[in-house]
Assembly symmetry: C2
Homo-oligomer: 212 residues x 2
Amino acid sequence: MMARPQTDIEAGRRLLLETAEGIIRDRGAVDIAISELASVAGMSPSNIYRFFESKEDLFEAIAERWFADKISIMETVIASSMSARDKMHAFFGRRFALMVADYETDPELFQSYCELGSQHFETVRGYVDLADHYLALIVAEAMQDGYFSKLTIDQTVSLINLMIQPFCNPDLIIHIGVRPTDDKLSEIIDTIFTGLGRAIERDNVIPMLSVA
Amino acid sequence: MMARPQTDIEAGRRLLLETAEGIIRDRGAVDIAISELASVAGMSPSNIYRFFESKEDLFEAIAERWFADKISIMETVIASSMSARDKMHAFFGRRFALMVADYETDPELFQSYCELGSQHFETVRGYVDLADHYLALIVAEAMQDGYFSKLTIDQTVSLINLMIQPFCNPDLIIHIGVRPTDDKLSEIIDTIFTGLGRAIERDNVIPMLSVA
């Protein structure tokens, strides 16, 4: 029975997060004052501070909830027995499919979360760094197989993130004209594995297929 | 003297476009009614229709003005004697530098133009198609040198546009956290030339440097 208070807190936070999501759905990307959340949830202001101490604390919980399934995908991919190439494809492709599904379920809510994310970038940055950390693990594995040999891990991660923006940047999921397919992602991952960190000098960038 | 009326029309349109830019600077990405433009420019409504017949006509002229220097860059690059690889680098790099400079001069105005562009995407599409046409010319030239051999021109153009989004999508110029450098663009262009349309089968994507 010692766990009861903690469980109550968790259940209360979950309920309040759903209330907060309702407010975001209705009103868009506005900061939610704790007093307002209390009022909408029919809770006394003094009671609600047991669950969230500040609106920053509330936003951190909203972000944690938004990123939970993305982190789960990344951890599953990292732990899998796929090749580094297929891990990288799944790493981006599965999160892309999830974000597209979320966007299509409720475009306005998705956009509101993106705007909230820009407004609280310091909180979101921790999740971006975590994704970079997981990508670095895949890059390091690929390097052991001889890929990206002219670059450091950090350089490789940074260049891959640039080349893969349409598949990992939620803003682009909203704004892009024609949604790219998984086949295109696959071609881009192949291009990255075949070409990135390989060219030594400009003059050496010649067709190599004939000698492979 | 026969050219006089035409010159008057052009000078009047230019003056009115500058007035429209002032309205966009003050009020953001809102449609401008022709009657309002006349009022701000101190012109009678009947007179202004000599210059712009509708607000669609006005927006087309605003877009033409926004794209003029980008088209000039693309035409200069295409006509140059650079290699296909260096043309592609200049094709994206010079426009990127121009857009970054425009953005840094007046971030809000740049953002307003982007929003107007999304609102009038049918007009903007013509310019996107033109840029794709110029990129296709560079791709065709590279193909003559043996690059991108497993892909069609259209497939290649589409994949390059995806991999190069942070350098050609004005929305990403606004939203990106850390602005990528020209060195990174150069690495990405090298990766595209070395890797795109080269992998035949997944199993053949192996390190090739040792045999080059």
